[in-house]
């Protein structure tokens, strides 16, 4: 296989390691060290994509992250599919398979191209919002069609086989970009003793040193480069991260780096290796040595494959030994274009002409070109390209910069490649991520990062371009960084480089055409989003004056491109149309990520079983063995019910309910929040945070408590017991445990710091085993030394003793309405107690039950669940719990004042009631809306909703709790629940206690 554009020698590729790859179904060959882009160019593959909107053929333009066209879909297998890969950033590996993301059926013969040709004329900017917005209901349909036609790559449909890692990193100095500036700054900081991280997005560190012909210390740049890298690598406090892109620069010098660990090795990572790694770096100082992007010039048909930015050509020649063509025309407004022409000529290919927009130039590189006898056309511009799928020629004319017009006769120069250079734009993207707007500098005709504390732009990113100045600037930056981090700056000897004279550049962005902009052929500004100079002109004509509006009207700088090549040109064009300067026009905001990051790298190890913590009680393995189904309660896994054989949920729950009501059930209640409260003011504190009274609760007693937020709305409830006169144990809801502890600390620390009280979480320490039902006393008596006599150990009391030989606190409290004991033991011993109880399983009919049965049983008794029967807008009085409010307490407890507002006492508040469906077999839907008249027209007036609803196997009918407007005054009324299927359920409003309303059973 021949590679027509590969030079016989030169470049950093390994010609002894040929690699085979497939692009759009064709097999090609490249070398180790190639990028996909360099390998495609070596094989003279000119069309790599179709454009987003007009479906025009597109080729490779650049050599790095700024590439707008060569965005490909990667992956040989379905599972390895990766969209949005820039061919210029993808290292070649053997067996690589890539395809264009746009173009159907293929990029050479694109059906959409016809549509683009015809409809493109009908799709001016603003087309989307003008055409597709009406009718608004059709937008979803339009959007799908547009997406399908545009094709921005796709995600894999199979499980990603790769592993991704997250690393947290800290350093004194993070240096982003390992070109000459970054290398010097990193070396100075590291030699001074600082902890340094140096990252670079390319396959090899060195930046422009990899493709320069300049010498350092009189030797090829490569020598100084490898010496410097070796020195850094030998320092244990330096972390070198090649193939690592800084994608997001967040507040406080927190930077996310994406390291492509194995993406250069194959479709999937080798065994034991992560595919990529996200480094979350917190740095004291961030050195931005991100360099600059060369700006292309805007001229007609500048998107035809074969148009390049000039520096890219030098990169392809020096780094990969690839010359992408035979006949080159260069257009430039500075001396950079000459370097490209010289490199092309020295590679043995023909330079047709250097077209210099400036009337005269005599810098070092100009003289070098003249010495080689290259044809130079001064005061002229390339204004149009001949060709459609490949460059066939460049239309050249003299021009008048002041009048912005072509002058004289146009001539056609036949060629197969055009390089343009409009100057350099510092890569300010990262600096702008935190919201700091870049600042325009007239002297360099570019934006530089705004001054931000802790951020140190240097070199090209700081608008410094000549190599000797770059090195000096970076030395200063390295010293500043070291000093800022508290180190004594060390000496560093800069390499000697020639001070090459460059002629003054011309501020040039767009090239006039023989036709007016609106009538001229497309002059592309943003190649990825198909934004033209005419589109920007149209936007300004339609009154869009803010650059942010122009961006949104035209889509300039959108998406994965983030305006790397086009934004400055776009702003300059906008400024000219508005008669403004560029700084008056301003710049848009650049956003993370700098280049796309795979979702896998963002998720890292937080996936599958490690997606979120799962919290388990000490008894979890027993529940699993018993075949429990589990319910998520917060992060906890709680047994939901324990089906036997093929039992349905309904049957299992009925069986469990009846076991509790008739014999004895057992529940793992360990997830309840538990807070140990100690101190001489503990009792006073409880009185202030609970609505009810605590001053008289004696040692050995327990009491139900209700908590409000300061707005008077119920926020938590639970039983608190008095362990000692200054020692209490508070229980909270499972979900409220952490929040209530914080709530107590908040009030203690900010409002009542004078109270002597400490709060400590003991949720995980105590395992809680609830046995409940008429047989619970007899069961417990088998294995405890506590006197369970009904008069000696009464309801709402606790006792200390041993249970199954384990030291325990037993609380006689009930959430089922039955005789109940809650056994609390140190969690390590819970399993022993639980298993000992089950030795009496058959004797007493002991039945394990889960949260569903717990809910049915508590609802039968009208016990609320905060968060289910309340929603943050419910007062204790709305719940009918006036008995739990101590209005006459001496201290104004949290929520008291709010409960005296007229709003909390208005008659039509929603209040908690019971609902008994008129048909026994109806179980109302939780969330069903209640109306008073089922025959009223829609929209009906809704007066409440069902909060809890179950079938009661004990009562043998459905029942519900509901929040109903003025519900406490509606006892006995019939209300209606119209359902989506047309049925209307009827129910009688009743009290909230459905079973044992006198409460005899828990007191036996």
């Amino acid at each position: 296989m021949t590679q027509p554009n590969r030079l016989a020698q030169g470049g950093r590729v390994n010609r002894d390691r040929p690699l085979s790859f497939v692009f759009n179904g064709e097999t090609y060959q490249g070398y180790e060290g190639d990028t996909l882009a360099s390998a495609l160019l070596a094989n003279a593959v000119s069309v790599v994509n179709r454009s987003f909107k007009y479906a025009r053929p597109r080729g490779i333009v650049a050599a790095g992250a700024e590439e707008p066209n060569a965005v490909v879909q990667l992956g040989a297998s379905e599972a390895a599919q990766t969209p949005n890969v820039r061919a210029t950033q993808q290292a070649l590996y053997d067996g690589l398979v890539a395809s264009s993301t746009n173009g159907w059926p293929n990029v050479q013969r694109d059906v959409m191209g016809l549509f683009g040709k015809v409809a493109g004329k009908m799709m001016p900017p603003g087309f989307y919002n003008k055409t597709f917005m009406a009718p608004a209901s059709m937008w979803m349909t339009y959007e799908k069609l547009i997406r399908k036609a545009a094709g921005l790559g796709r995600s894999p449909r199979e499980q990603d086989p790769d592993r991704y890692e997250h690393f947290h990193r800290h350093c004194d100095v993070l240096v982003i970009g390992a070109g000459p500036a970054g290398l010097v700054a990193a070396s100075v900081a590291a030699n001074s003793g600082a902890r340094v991280i140096l990252c670079d997005e390319q396959e090899q560190m060195g930046g422009c040193l990899l493709s320069t012909t300049e010498t350092l210390n009189g030797k090829p740049a490569n020598q100084w480069l490898s010496e410097t890298l070796d020195h850094l690598a030998a320092n244990p406090d330096v972390l070198l991260l090649p193939r690592t892109t800084a994608n997001g620069y967040h507040d406080h010098n927190f930077v996310t780096l994406h390291e492509r660990v194995a993406e250069h090795l194959g479709d999937t990572a080798p065994e034991g290796m992560a595919r990529s790694r996200m480094h979350q770096v917190r740095a004291k100082r961030v050195v931005l040595s991100t360099g600059s992007h060369e700006r292309p010039l805007v001229y007609a048909n500048n998107d035809v494959p074969g148009n390049f930015v000039s520096g890219a050509i030098s990169s392809y020649i020096h780094r990969y030994g690839v010359v992408p063509g035979n006949q080159l025309v260069v257009m430039t407004a500075n001396d950079q274009g000459y370097r490209c022409a010289i490199d092309w000529y020295d590679a043995g290919r023909n330079v047709v002409a250097i077209v210099d927009a400036r009337p005269d130039a005599d810098g070092h590189w100009v003289k070098q070109a003249e010495e080689r006898g290259l044809r130079i056309l001064k005061g002229q511009v390339v204004f149009d390209t001949k060709g459609t799928k490949a460059v066939q020629g460049a239309w050249v004319s003299a021009w008048n910069a002041e009048r912005f017009a072509l002058t004289g006769e146009a001539q056609l120069l036949e060629c197969d490649a055009i390089a343009s250079s409009g100057g350099f734009s510092p890569v300010v993207h990262l600096a702008a991520h935190t919201g700091a707007r870049p600042v325009w500098r007239d002297d360099i005709q570019g934006f530089v990062p705004a001054a931000v504390k802790g951020q140190l732009p240097t070199g090209g990113c700081n608008g410094v371009y000549p190599l000797h100045q770059v090195l000096a600037d970076a030395l200063d930056t390295g010293i500043t960084a070291a000093l800022d981090c508290g180190y004594e700056a060390s000496r560093f000897i800069l390499p000697e480089v020639d001070d090459l004279v460059e002629s003054a550049p011309l501020a040039l962005f767009e090239i006039p055409h023989t036709k007016a902009t609106m009538r001229a052929p497309y002059q592309f500004v943003d190649l990825q989003n198909d934004v033209t100079a005419a589109a920007i002109e149209l936007a300004t004509r339609e009154g869009f004056e803010s650059i942010e509006h122009v961006k949104r009207y035209t889509a300039m700088g959108f998406g994965t491109d983030q305006g790397k090549l086009g934004n400055i040109n776009g702003m300059a064009i906008t400024a000219r149309r508005l008669g403004q300067t560029i700084p008056e026009t301003g710049t848009t905001v650049f956003r993370p990520n700098y280049t796309p990051v795979p979702f896998g790298a963002i998720a890292g190890p937080h996936r599958r079983e490690l997606f979120d913590p799962k919290r388990y009680t000490a008894l979890h393995s027993w529940h699993e063995q018993r075949g429990a189904t589990f319910e998520d309660v917060g992060l906890w896994k709680r047994p939901w019910y324990y089906p036997i054989g093929n039992e349905s949920m309904h049957d299992a729950v009925s069986r469990e309910c009846l076991a509790v009501r008739n014999k004895v059930g057992i529940l793992d209640a360990s997830t309840l929040g538990k807070i140990d409260i100690q101190g001489k003011d503990a009792r006073e504190f409880l009185g202030r945070v609970y609505t009810n009274k605590w001053e008289k609760l004696g040692i050995g007693k327990a009491r139900y408590g209700l908590m409000c937020k300061d707005d008077g709305m119920v926020t938590d409830d639970g039983v608190t017991t008095c362990l000692g006169d200054q020692h209490f144990l508070m229980t909270t809801t499972t979900g409220g445990a952490a929040a209530i502890l914080e709530w107590l600390e908040l009030w203690h620390q900010t409002e009542w710091p004078e109270l002597e009280v400490y709060f400590n979480s003991v949720t995980d320490h105590w395992a809680t085993i609830t046995i409940t039902g008429p047989n619970s006393r007899a069961l417990l008596r088998e294995i405890t030394d506590i006197d369970l006599d009904r008069d000696k150990f009464k309801f709402m009391e606790w006792r200390q003793g041993t249970v199954a030989g384990v030291p325990a606190r037993v609380y006689r409290i009930s959430f089922t309405g039955e005789l109940s004991y809650e056994i609390n033991v140190q969690a390590d011993f819970a399993m022993h107690v639980w298993q000992t109880l089950f030795e009496y399983e058959n004797k007493y009919g002991l039945t394990p039950y889960g949260t569903e049965t717990m809910h049915v049983l508590r609802a039968e008794k009208g016990f609320i669940i905060v968060g289910q029967d309340t929603d943050g807008s419910v007062t204790p009085e709305d719940l009918g719990m006036q008995w739990c409010i101590g209005y006459d307490k001496p201290f104004s407890w949290i929520g008291k004042r709010a409960l005296s507002r007229p709003d909390t006492s208005r008659r039509d508040r929603k209040q908690l009631v019971g609902l008994k469906p008129l048909k026994d077999d109806v179980v109302l839907e939780e969330g069903a809306q209640i109306v008073l008249d089922p025959n009223q027209p829609i929209p009906m007036r809704m007066v409440g909703h069902v909060t809890s609803s179950y079938f009661s196997p004990t009562l043998n009918h459905g029942f519900a709790l509901a929040l109903l407007m003025d519900g406490h005054n509606r006892m006995g009324e019939i209300v209606f629940m119209p359902m989506p299927d047309g049925q209307v359920h009827e129910a009688e409003v009743v009290g909230t206690v459905f079973y044992d309303s006198k409460g005899d059973r828990q007191n036996v």
């Binding site: 919290r615 400490y758 003991v762 033991v825």
Partner: protein, 196 residues
């Protein structure tokens, strides 16, 4: 002595077998450069009090035979007990499980005024991490800076372990201690094994 209700919560060892939070998993995981192990059944006491109160500090010293660390993020240890600074008024005491009640009682005997001692032994377990690559495991697990320059021997912090919390301690050069909550222990173990 406060009026706090305390009792020996430790079951008699030869009659009752306790279960650590990780009893259902292996208690040791070894891979290249990393050794991860559980140290089960330790005693844990949360101590609250005023670090500026000389009598309080002296009482703790007398009860535990160890100075109370008052420097933030430090760990002091003897053969049997360690005390980790957690906040200006909070410390974590770790001791052998069988001696927990002895130390708890001793603290109550020596201390007076406003303080609290809470037995939280059932709520935690300890993991240890050692080996050449232990740091790499920590870099992947916690946002805290564990670089040796920043996290020397004798340092101890409360921070995050993935999405859970951890008391991270460096008692000596070769070992890291991670104290995690019982209910999160399974998650923490699986996380650490996953990134080893």
């Amino acid at each position: 002595m406060s009026d706090a209700a305390i009792f020996d919560q430790q079951a008699v060892a030869d009659k009752v077998t306790g279960q650590s939070p990780l009893h259902h998993l292996s208690s040791s995981h070894k891979t290249e450069g990393v050794v991860l192990e559980e140290v089960p059944s330790l005693g844990y006491l949360t101590l609250r009090g005023d670090a500026n109160d000389e009598a309080f500090r002296a009482g703790v010293h007398k009860a535990l035979g160890l100075e109370l660390p008052v420097q933030p993020m430090t760990l002091l240890q003897s053969d049997t007990v360690s005390i980790q600074w957690l906040s200006p008024d909070e410390w974590m005491i770790v001791c052998p499980g069988a001696r927990c009640f002895e130390f708890e009682s001793a603290l109550h005997e020596q201390l007076s005024g406003h303080y609290a001692v809470v037995n939280v032994s059932g709520g935690y377990t300890m993991l240890t991490l050692s080996g050449d690559r232990a740091l790499d495991v920590l870099y992947q697990s916690t946002a805290y800076d564990v670089h040796p320059r920043h996290f020397g021997t004798g340092k101890a912090v409360a921070t995050t372990l993935a999405k859970a919390t951890v008391f991270l301690r460096r008692p000596d050069d070769g070992k890291w201690e991670l104290i995690v909550r019982r209910s999160f222990a399974d998650y923490c173990w699986r996380w650490l094994v996953g990134v080893c």
